[in-house]
Structure formats: C-alpha cells, structure tokens
C-alpha cells in the first residue's frame, strides 16, 4: 500500500472514531434543522399549493445550510482540544491525505444531516398532495454538499490559525457558498416545478453547480497543504 493510501486509511478511520465518540456534534445540527422545519411548518400551514414547492425547497436548503454550517465550524474541534492539530503537523502527513480524510468524514456527516433534514421536511409536508420526495433533488443536495464541505473545511483550517476567527468565518463562508446554494435551489425548482431531468439541467444550473464544486474542491485541496504544513 502506498504511503498516501496508508495515511488516508489511518486518518479517515481515526477521524470517524473521533466523530463517533462525539455524537452530540451530529445531534445538534439535526436538532437545529428539525426546529427550523417545525417553525416553517407551523408558520406556513395551511399553505397555498402553488407556493408550497418553493417554500419546501427554501426551508429544506435553509435548514440544511445552517445545520451543515454548525457542523463544519466544529470540524477541527477534536483536533484543537488538546492541540492534537499541532502534533499532527509535526508528524507531517501528506497534506492531500489529511485533507481527503477530513473531507470524507465531513461529507459523511453532511449526508447524514441532509438525509435527516430532507426526510423530516417530507414528513412534515406529507399532508399536501404534491410529491416532493425526489432522488434528483437529493442528488443536487449532495452535489451542493460536496462544494460547501470543501470550502467549509478549508475555512475551518484557516480559522485555526487566524486571530479574528469569529468574524472571519461567516464573512468568507456565506458569500462564497452563495453561488453553490443558488445553483442547487434553482436546480431543485426546475426538477420539482418544471419536471426537468438532471441531464437537461447540465447545461445550466447543474453545470454551474458542478463547476463551483470542482473549483472549491481543487482550491481547497491545494490550499489546505499550505495551511497545515510545517515551516
């Protein structure tokens, strides 16, 4: 096994073990998204069916976005508690293996948050005679997650070294994730309202989403090494 794969396996297994030991970190984003969904449900019910799909998309992505943000902002919390992050830097793992292992863990975490949010959203809105359960929308949400997770991970690593972390994170995170979210919301609308397929959306909003995913994943992979390398 190459050094890269060996380190990737060790780091990923370890980070998953650490996350499983910190289950409350998963629970709080899910509870947050549940609260938002309940608030939306009571605020908008009974709802005009014409606006239902739009509200469904807005509430789902809004809950998901903020729930993920809560999770991402804490991704380095276990590494920071006893300064294991610094020790890890002295061990000089291959930066790409380090990034990818964290990225895999954060993506798995995000998939759990997305699945529960969408599941709850469908559950709360099942009384309305419009089907919103769509694998295509789920796939769009996962694609949005891939871009947001890469960016969230990069910014979280950046914040470990920054002095003004409380201000800097939202200042960078929110504007940079906007294109991904807009593309994901537009894709979902086209799928649910206009019954468009993913292949039809490839030349428009879905294409834009994939481009931003690629940019953020490549950028984060390259810059993460610069942030964590020893001098």
């Amino acid at each position: 096994m190459t050094t890269f794969l060996r380190q990737l396996t060790s780091l990923t297994t370890h980070f998953i073990r650490v996350e499983l030991a910190n289950l409350e970190r998963l629970l709080s984003p899910i509870l947050f998204s549940t609260t938002i969904l309940i608030l939306f449900f009571f605020a908008f019910s009974p709802m005009d069916q014409e606006v239902f799909v739009k509200v469904y998309i807005a509430q789902t992505f809004l809950s998901m976005f903020f729930a993920l943000q809560i999770g991402f902002a804490r991704i380095f919390e276990p590494d920071d508690q006893d300064d294991a992050f610094t020790l890890l830097r002295t061990y000089k793992p291959i930066p790409e293996a380090w990034f990818l292992s964290k990225y895999i863990v954060i993506t798995l975490f995000g998939v759990l948050v997305i699945s529960s949010t969408m599941g709850l959203s469908i559950f709360f809105n099942q009384s309305i005679n419009i089907s919103v359960a769509s694998w295509s929308v789920f796939l769009v949400a996962i694609l949005a997650l891939l871009g947001i997770a890469a960016l969230g991970l990069l910014l979280s690593a950046m914040m470990l070294k920054a002095d003004a972390k409380q201000i800097l994170y939202p200042l960078l995170y929110f504007p940079l994730t906007t294109p991904v979210l807009l593309a994901a919301v537009q894709c979902s609308q086209e799928i649910l309202i206009n019954n468009m397929s993913l292949s039809e959306l490839l030349s428009s909003w879905l294409g834009l989403l994939l481009v931003f995913d690629a940019i953020y994943i490549i950028l984060s992979t390259l810059l993460f090494g610069e942030l964590v390398k020893s001098e």
């Binding site: 370890h14 030991a21 300064d83 294991a84 000089k92 020893s230």
Partner: protein
Amino acid sequence: MSPGELLHLSGPNGSGKTTFLKIIAGLIAPDKGSISFHDTHYEYLDSESNGHYLKISAASNLRFWGKLKQHHLSNQQLDDELLTWGLSNPYISQKLAVENFSTGMKRKLALARVSLSSEKIWLLDEPILGLDEKSLNLFSKKLAKHLNQGGCAVVISHDLSPIRDSITRTLTFES
C-alpha cells in the same frame, strides 16, 4: 547535535526557549537563519498540551500516532508501555476517554507516545510537568536509555533533577 547528546535549553521565563524549540520542530518559521536535519523525523512534546484526542481511549490514541508514523505497534508493545507508565488497567487504557485522565496521567500518556515512537530526535518542552516521583524516575530512565541507544534530545525543563545526569550541553537564553 550528535547521537547520545542531550541539549538542555535554560533561561528565564519569556526568553525564547519554547519559541526556539518550536522553530526546530517546524511549527514556527525563523525570522532568519536555518536549521538542517540529517533525519527530519522527530517526536515533539509541547509544554501546555499533550496532543491527545480527548474523547477516545489512551490505547486508541497511541495506536493512531503509531500507525501514522508507520510504527506497527503490537498489542504486547502497547500493553507493556502502558504498564510501565502505570496506565495498564484495561478500563483506563481501553475504555476511559482521555478527557477523564488527571493532568499527570495525560502527561504520562504523552511520554508513552514519545517513548513508543522510536524516533531518534526528541524535542521536549517541560516534559515532567505534573508527574509524580515514580514517574520522574521512570522518565529519567527512559531518556537515558534513548540516549544510550544513539538517540538525542533537546529538552526544556526548569526542574533539572531527572535530566541532570544526561545533559551533555546547555544553551542558555537571556531575557
């Protein structure tokens, strides 16, 4: 530095000993000058933290750091090291999260990691903080063994008793 050498960094608080050690460890870039290594692998221990993942067990921590350095630790090696440091109780080593350890136990676990690493260079900043008398003697023996086996170490310690016999050179910092 040559094999068997122990460089002791001494000086008053705030004189730059820790900064110097961090520069050697590659955690801070020097303003000028450079440091060259024959062997870039080393084991570092910070004065204010131990580098543990607090929510998992002592054994899981040691296994992780070992795997990352490609030191395939057998269960026997792990058990022996934990036994040496008085952390061998299965509940303490396998089940209890490190966050529940006392300050001294956390330090002992960090020293167990250093000892298991088999790296030639040890960079230790106040390694004996929080250790009891028995552990001080143990650390002293471990350090002497490491130096006898051709390793070397750079140590910052205000308490000289456990390292005095091993010191080969002292670098004194002025405030």
